[in-house]
Symmetry: C2
Subunit: 284 residues, 2 copies
DNA sequence: CTAATAGTGTCTGTTAGACACTATCTA
DNA sequence: TAGATAGTGTCTAACAGACACTATTAG
């Protein structure tokens, strides 16, 4: 490899000459939208900020990416550090937020990951400790009103007396959809920085994919009953659904384990997710 | 706002004390997968690198994000600078690639945007200049073989004598899909860095969304005939499709303009995209 | 004339929504 | 007994794929 550039440099010479400090650079973080289901309700992990900026406000867990660390490694590290989650927790990249003024410290570009885990995988408790610096908020997004060109939804986050409610408006523009969010007056506090954007995006994605992909099985253990699947599904879409139709349709992504479980004395069939089915559609 | 942190600092004091240089930071870029349709073929803009690293290789257009510039502003600037595209060109965020070793200069995290424009909006020509530093490559992704747990596709990029062919394998793992790509021997060169990952992801997304969302109308002008839509659609999915069914289905997202256009002496109806229809499903 | 393209109509099997129904356990 | 929860069966309207068909222009 003796290729030379316009200055006559080899790659080695070029790299020796390269100065990353010529321009001021942003900092990079990863944040996580971590969900689980507890007592039939969809939960989101939030951290109370103990330092500036946004001190005292609730925020998504996350942190800086180490200089020589892959982004996925950073996510895994943060999941373990901040939330005491076992390894092998599912996550995928959601979106990167990088507005120049989104953090007062310096320019911070954050890549948000969407992560899900079954309740049984969580070591951090659901204890109702009001002084806690981390809490599982109940999260729900309900469509309030909808017409041809606008959809109004309400995004609710609640933990003990802490209550945040956002009004989300999706408006059809010429060839894209504009999403605005506004904190409602009933709220006792608000999410730090632009984190509501990430939370809203995550909710949309999970709600949209719950029926057509296998994403919701990341909230369940390896083996489960159909009723358990339906409960998780209904927690996500915040609606009741027809049992007969749901069972008929969901079975296409499952296979029977051949084993049974006792639920209130009744012998109930256990299933397992079969990722062979429909895997192509998951390629979104 | 007189909140103080554990050190007793106000926000102002904290910010004055904050040192972004305490840790070494990555650099951040935006790259673009810019597509158009020309003579019934899907095209991708690639830039030939004139400097290290990856000198002489073809790469996605892009560049560093200025410190105080929003990411979308950077994309718009790059679209205009590098490709002479008019403003108002459609784009959306595709994915952020940030592996620690993806660039030999320093740690570079890049956010890739997927952009599309009708041919008529392009000032940079399709001239067959072999010495050009930018070229519109014909791009095609064809599924070669597919079974329950694996799908093998071939991604082809071609411009004059330059020919790149990748074999893409999607394998079903426990609860996700692993994608690997491998350059095939017939290729005369290869894409710089990890750009093939972005290109492949963009192709998957466009192919998947072509039928169910309005994304392909970004490749067409304001008004178009049904045949033109079908041609663009077939260029994307690299397959012929049933005319009757296609027209029946696509009409649901369109409205007639009431005007006509002469095609080979025949009077052909003109349509326009109606974003009111199906806008909720586009929320992916 | 034939070939190609614009555009329409129809048949059929699959799917999704609505809803009625049985069986079993709890209180 | 009533009231949950587990689980099944059926009807219908909407939809997708296959394909036959007409009309017009180019050669």
């Amino acid at each position: 490899m003796e290729l030379r550039n316009a200055k006559g440099q080899t790659l080695q010479e070029f790299l020796a000459d390269y100065d990353e400090n010529r321009y001021r650079r942003p900092s990079n973080t990863v944040d996580m939208v971590l969900m689980t289901v507890h007592e039939g309700q969809l939960k989101l992990l939030l951290i109370r900020r103990k330092d500036h900026p946004f001190i005292g406000q609730w925020a998504l867990p996350g942190g800086f990416i180490n200089f020589d660390e892959d982004m996925e490694t950073a996510v895994q590290r943060e999941l373990e550090e901040e939330t005491s989650i076992h390894e092998n927790t599912y996550f995928h990249q959601l979106y990167t937020f990088g507005n120049a003024d989104r953090d007062p410290r310096t320019r911070i570009i954050t890549t948000v990951y969407l992560s899900m885990t079954p309740e049984t995988n969580i070591r951090k408790t659901f204890a109702n400790d009001d002084a806690a610096d981390a809490a599982w908020f109940t999260i729900r997004k309900c469509v309030q009103e909808q017409n041809d060109r606008e959809r109004v939804s309400v995004l609710t986050l609640q933990y003990l007396d802490t209550h945040m409610e956002y009004c989300i408006t999706d408006t059809v523009k010429n060839n894209y959809i504009e999403t605005r969010s506004q904190l409602m007056e009933e709220s006792t506090t608000e999410l730090a920085s632009d984190h509501v954007k990430a939370v809203n995006m995550a909710m949309d994605q999970v709600m949209n994919r719950a029926a057509s992909t296998g994403i919701l099985f990341n909230l369940l253990e390896e083996e489960f009953t159909l009723r358990e699947v339906q409960n998780v599904y209904e927690a996500i879409i915040a609606k009741k659904t027809d049992t007969g139709n749901f069972r008929r349709d969901i079975k296409r992504m499952l296979k029977e384990t051949g084993t049974y479980k006792n639920v209130k004395g009744k012998k109930v069939k256990l299933y397992r997710f079969d990722p062979m089915y429909r895997y192509l559609e998951e390629n979104l």
